[in-house]
Amino acid sequence: MEISPQAAMPVIDVRNLTKDYYLGEIVVPALRGIDLQIFPGEMVAIMGPSGSGKSTLMNMIGCLDSPTSGEYYLDSLLVSDLHDDDLAIVRNQKIGFVFQKYNLLPRIDAIENVALPLRYSENTSSMRQRAEAALQAVGLGDRMRHKPNELSGGQQQRVAIARALVNEPAILLADEPTGNLDSQSGKEIMELLMKLNQQQNTTIVLVTHDPTVATHAQRIVQLFDGLVKTPEAVS
């Protein structure tokens, strides 16, 4: 396993993580003991066929759900046994989400969508300026007052990326970020993510089943049947 030279402490440290789902009496193991370290500044793709557990793993890494057993350290904080409201604070402070379907609120404009995570954070000062800066960073400085339905798919995903970055999280978690986009827009979004990774050293975790998307990553983690198959390095 290749370890990034720039830091010794992993930002994501998953140890023997399992997750069981219960369908009535039947136990369905979705994750069966995952070990995974991701270091600051890395861009990692998590791949795998459907049913391999990659969505479940993404929910764990995103602190949206709690594991059945195992440990998960995020930014050196043990989050695997935190409760709902504490997890909400962790999500707010440490994680930026980018979804396949953008998930922007249709009633409010771009800048308010970007500022949404700031409303739930402790530091609510200069919300507007920080949201503006995030929108500038994704190249949407001239679309701040537009509502989601006045923006193209690619632009909406840029707003979503700005929203993910506005609270300066430890990781950016992108779930099929190009899944709803045409190839040109998808390419632009991937370029934006790579730029963020290279220029601002943002740690990015991509969940995708699209190999061309995954080739942008420095490292691909293959999941199969709830286990990590063969971590392989990409140039």
Partner: protein, 410 residues
């Protein structure tokens, strides 16, 4: 800060669905409107009744036949003989005036106009006891009463209805129960001094009443007696004296209970007060049921809204909203709906009161609906409570959604 933000978001979210919000609010509008309307009419009625009772003067005692707290078989009717007995200044030094009253409904006719109204057969000192003032002519005299004269004093409303004017009536003739009566005076409008509307009354000598309008099985029978005490301080003494005299004249032994009932201003005031209060509370209670229905409507719509916005809730949770944040957001919306409805309802209730006031004024009953600051505050707080109560469950449902499932919701 958080709360202000929640308020702003609630306004945005509710105004995004204007028609739905308006229809949801309608239940609360009607409920609060009905409560406020009933309360204001009730308060107006109370004030009007108290005003009417007080306008008689505070030193008047009413004597009725019968006893309402104890069983009395065959109570003696009150008669003019009782009135004469009470007039004995030696035995009743604190009583200064007695007026006997025999009242009944009859038709009064002037030319082609006629109307059914209450005829008050009264003694000559009735005007003095009840402070009835005339705009022209004079009240009938003792000799009119003794001679059973067919003379009448008209109340101003009655005069106007019959003749189209309130004065210049002395000397004309009206027919009561088809007997001609000569008008000797017209009263000044009082706006009410009993439970009836005295401005619609006609006053004739009690003897003429007995003879021409309402024949009685007991000669000289009267409906009630008005006793005027010296002043409001001596009213208890006057009542004691009257009681002793009436018991003697009705030949009651010391074991028998009174066969008459005496009340004074204070008693009547407190009875009237409690009657209007009970009625008001009763009606407001019924109106409050519609508030309940409105609250259930809010709950229903909030539940729909939570389902519709499941993905939004999931997203907010993913971005760091805690349970409390989500709960606050939905509670603010339901509270805002119901308070908004409450405010419109207060306006509606005020309007309702105004309309009833106008109708009452047109039909000759003085009633000015009053909206007190208390009832406005009560309505606002109550509708806020309705919103919080019925919004609680939907808000809790929203807050307890699992972020993973909410985000996946289609």
């Amino acid at each position: 800060m958080k709360f202000l933000q929640a308020l702003k978001e609630a306004i945005a979210s509710l105004s995004a669905n204007k028609t739905r919000s308006f229809l949801t609010v309608l239940g609360i509008v009607i409920g609060v409107g009905a409560v406020i309307g009933v309360l204001s009419i009730g308060q107006g009625a109370e004030a009007s009744i108290i005003g009417q009772i007080e306008s008689i003067g505070t030193n008047v005692i009413y004597v009725f036949r019968g006893n309402r707290s104890e069983d009395v078989t065959n109570p003696n009717r009150l008669t003019t003989a009782d009135a004469d007995a009470l007039s004995n200044r030696a035995r009743a030094p604190h009583i200064i005036n007695i007026a006997s009253v025999l009242s009944g409904q009859s038709r009064v006719r002037f030319g082609d106009e006629s109307t059914q109204t209450s005829i008050m057969g009264v003694a000559e000192n009735y005007a003095e006891v009840t402070d009835l003032k005339l705009s022209e002519g004079s009240f009938f005299t003792e000799s009119n009463v003794t001679n059973r004269s067919s003379v009448v004093v008209l109340g101003p409303e009655l005069a106007e209805r019959l003749t189209g004017r309130r004065t210049e009536l002395v000397g004309t003739t009206v027919h009561i129960n088809n007997y001609p009566f000569r008008v000797v005076g017209s009263a000044i409008a009082k706006g009410g001094n009993q439970f009836s509307s005295p401005d619609m009354d006609a006053y004739i000598p009690i003897t003429a009443m007995q003879l021409r309008v309402q024949r009685q099985s007991v000669p000289n029978a009267v409906d009630f007696l008005l006793i005027q005490a010296q002043d409001s301080q001596s009213i208890d003494l006057a009542m004691q004296e009257a009681k002793a005299i009436l018991r003697a004249s009705h030949r009651l032994t010391s074991r028998q209970p009174d066969d008459f009932t005496m009340t004074n201003q204070e008693d009547i005031l407190s009875i009237a007060n409690s009657i209007t209060k009970i009625l008001t509370i009763f009606l407001a209670g019924i109106a409050a049921i519609s508030l309940l229905v409105g609250g259930i409507g809010i709950m229903n719509i909030m539940l729909v809204s939570v389902t519709e916005r499941t993905r939004e809730i999931g997203l907010r949770k993913a971005l760091g909203a805690r349970k409390f944040d989500i709960q606050l957001q939905f509670l603010t919306e339901s509270a805002m709906l119901s308070v908004f409805g409450g405010l419109i309802g207060i306006g509606l209730g005020w309007l309702l009161g105004k309309v009833v006031g106008i109708i009452a004024a047109n039909s000759g009953t003085p009633l000015v609906p009053e909206i007190s600051l208390n009832s406005v505050l009560l309505a606002t707080l109550f509708s806020l409570a309705v919103g919080l109560f019925f919004g609680w469950y939907p808000a809790l449902r929203a807050a307890n959604l699992e972020p993973v499932e909410a985000l996946r919701y289609e």
